[in-house]
Structure formats: structure tokens, C-alpha cells
Symmetry: C2
Subunit: 214 residues, 2 copies
DNA sequence: CGCGCTATTGATCATCTGCTCATTACTATT
DNA sequence: AATAGTAATGAGCAGATGATCAATAGCGCG
């Protein structure tokens, strides 16, 4: 099978818009493709295969990124950034809205953002690799989302049970685990997780004796 | 730095018992080392570095395993096998013991088995790689542990709430997430997770209106 | 003690992989 | 239509990596 048409086989990807994109666009395309590629095969995936999927030469990648490492950093940035909307801290502490509703709103939106194969897998790969961004993300999540949630819960709970961060992490982990099952382990999981999320939240609130009206 | 003593530098690992082990023992040592090594650096870790850590030549590895793939299979087997004690199905359904106690017993023992860095990381790496054993393990867990737990809970719960497998997975995920935070993300987590596990179980039982005596 | 078996080694191969760079050819501009 | 600027290519290097195999040397046995 010796293709002779067009510029010599740019990666067996016929029908894809050809060469000479504006640099910004090309860079964008590469990052996009790299996210999908590395999410699938892991961060050790090789640049030749990535290039082939993009329908582009491998050397082109190094016109846009000095090293593979730099490309992976761009992938991290793409995947991690803007995943936590900055207005959540305010919305989660808005006591004009029942806590249950705030929790439902947050986890419904958050899960729709992160229960996505590319994100889940890049996050896990980078976590296993000990990437600094992973640590920072989790610390940020803890401080900006979970710790305020602890305060909100404490404010409403009878102080019989002294709630700790571990209780919040348990709520969070139980929900996130849905996405892990689905995208990391590729096991069946509810395609629409809203009901499971609702149950998790109600289980949480019930234990800390918070009525659904509070 | 040219070592001249002993058989030529077997990997800069002085003081370690030397050469010519009985094959069974050597094989054991290699698998053990491979578990630790791959758990740390991932399944793409290279055989030369592994050999060096073992204080052994790289070629020796291929006397015991035909391919790197075969070695990794041995690692999987070592890590996955005997992780789920076969008597748990019986113990979890032993209604002479309160369900709360059964759950506490199970998750205390189970967490002490799996909240271990090597296991957690190999499990995650193999899950991401789509290893068949990973699937089988999770299906097995679901059928042999979690599904019976669903039945036990249903038997005791007021049938107001219809419990589903998702509720069980939520309990399970919330607990397992402790180990994920600790060993995958290397974030701080309670060194003794028993209290968090107890809370998770009580939260679960409370929601389904099961008294601590049942 | 000497010998034979075999666990272990060291050198080496073929391929893979990140990366470089001189050359090519697409496209905007005139 | 000709040209200049540069996006993209393709050949190729150096080092890494899985795997092979003949040679070596530790150890049990007579």
C-alpha cells in the first residue's frame, strides 16, 4: 500500500485539513490531540504515534514544544485549568440557599466537568507521576471547597457530632469514585450520576442531622 | 570509581547476599523487587534500573521471565492474589453478628490489606492499562462482597428506601478513597483510618435506618 | 579435591525514542 | 505571476531499551 497522491503520507490520515495552519491553531490542535492521546495510553506514549494520529510529522511537534516534557506541561495546563470555577467558594457559603441545594448544585456541576474520560485519566496519570499540579489542585480543592463545606456543615449541625475534614473527604470520595470506576477502571457506572450524587449528599446530611430545609 | 572487589559490580548494591540463589528463591526476589519498582515508577519502568536495584544483571531477569510482559504478569499475580479472603462472603452474611460489626470487621481488615502503597499503585497502574485482572478483581469484589452487602442491608432496612448497588459502591468508594489520597496522590490522610471507616459505616447505616444493634 | 551442572554474567543486537536541522513547499503579499 | 517568509517535512543522530547467547564461575556431589 504505497500512497503516491498528495504530499507524502502525512500519517495515514486522509481527508483531514492539510498543512500550514496558523501557528496558534496548530499548537491548539496538537495540545488537544495530546490530551486525548496521553489520556488513553499514558504519559509515556511516544511522540511518533501521537504525530501519526494528528496526521503530522513527529518533528513538527518539536517546532511547537521544545521537549516532550513541555508538551506534557501544556497538556496538564489544558486539563487542570479552569476546572474549579472561582465563584464556588462564594456560592457554597451563600446561606440564603439551603445547604442541600448548594451541595447538589456544586456536585452536579462539578461531576459534569470531571466525569470525563480525558480529565479523569490525565488526572490519575499525573497523580501517579507525582506532578506538582496534581498536589496543588487537591490542596486547592481542599482549602477552597471542602474546608468551607466543613464550616457550613458545622454551622448547621447539632454539635453532638464533631465533624472533621475526613467526613468531607468521605462525601467527596464517594462521589468521585463513580468517575473512577467509569473512566479509570472502565467498569459500568450510572451514565447519569445525579441520583447517586443526591443519595450521597442526603446520606451525608442525614448523618449530621441536617434537615433538607436547612 | 572502579570497584575491583568481588564479582564485577553487580549493580552498586554492596552488602547484599551475592549470587547463585536457588531458582525459586531468585524468582521470588525478582518478583518482590519488581512489585516495589513498578509500583513506584509505573509499568513502563525499564528492566535495567530494576536489575540494578536488585543488584543483579539485566539479562538475568530474562532467564526467569521470557519477556517483560511475563514479568509484569507475575507482578499482577503477586499483587492481586489472595487479597480477598475467601471466607468473607460467609462472614458478611452471618446474621448472628450485627451488620454494623460485620461491616466494621470487613473494612478494618480489608483496608489494612489494601491501604499499602505497592498494592494501591500497582492496582491503579494496571487499571489504567486496562489489565484483565483488574476488571476481574472488581467484578469479583462486586459479586462476592458488595452484592451480598446489598442483600444484607435490604434485609434489615425499612423498605422505604430502595437501596441499590450504587449505594454500596458509594460506601465502598468513600472508604477506598482514603487509600487513593494517601498512596496515589501522596496527600496526607489519617494514618489510622479506623475512625474514618467507622464514621463512613455509621453514616451508611443511619441513612438506611438500621440501628447499631441490628 | 576436583568435577560437572547450571545460575549468572557481559557483550551485543535490533529496534525504539526524543530531538535536531537542512531542505521543501504552502500561502500571503505585491 | 513572482517572491519572500515560514510552516512543515524527512532524513538521521545518540542514547535508551527489550531481548539473545556464548562464556564464566559458584556450589553441591562424588
Amino acid at each position: 500500500m504505497d500512497l503516491k497522491d498528495g504530499p507524502r503520507d502525512p500519517g495515514a490520515n486522509p481527508g483531514v485539513p492539510r498543512r500550514r495552519l496558523p501557528p496558534k491553531e496548530r499548537r491548539e490542535q496538537i495540545v488537544e490531540g495530546a490530551v486525548a492521546f496521553f489520556a488513553e495510553v499514558g504519559l509515556d506514549g511516544n511522540t511518533r504515534e501521537l504525530a501519526q494520529r494528528l496526521g503530522v510529522t513527529q518533528s513538527l511537534l518539536f517546532n511547537y514544544f521544545d521537549t516532550k516534557e513541555a508538551l506534557i506541561e501544556a497538556v496538564y495546563a489544558r486539563v487542570y485549568l479552569d476546572r474549579l470555577s472561582p465563584d464556588w467558594p462564594d456560592r457554597l457559603t451563600d446561606r440564603t440557599i439551603p445547604l442541600r441545594q448548594r451541595l447538589l448544585d456544586f456536585y452536579t456541576e462539578y461531576s459534569s466537568l470531571i466525569f470525563e474520560r480525558h480529565w479523569m485519566r490525565i488526572f490519575m496519570f499525573s497523580g501517579l507521576a507525582g506532578a506538582a499540579l496534581n498536589h496543588r489542585y487537591l490542596e486547592h480543592l481542599g482549602e477552597v471547597i471542602l474546608r468551607p463545606l466543613l464550616a457550613e456543615t458545622k454551622a448547621l449541625s447539632g454539635d453532638a457530632a464533631d465533624i472533621t475534614m475526613e467526613d468531607i473527604w468521605n462525601l467527596h470520595g464517594g462521589i468521585v469514585y463513580i468517575g473512577i470506576r467509569q473512566h479509570i477502571y472502565r467498569m459500568p457506572a450510572p451514565e447519569n450520576p445525579e441520583e447517586a450524587i443526591t443519595r450521597a449528599i442526603d446520606k451525608y446530611l442525614t448523618f449530621f442531622q441536617i434537615g433538607s430545609d436547612a
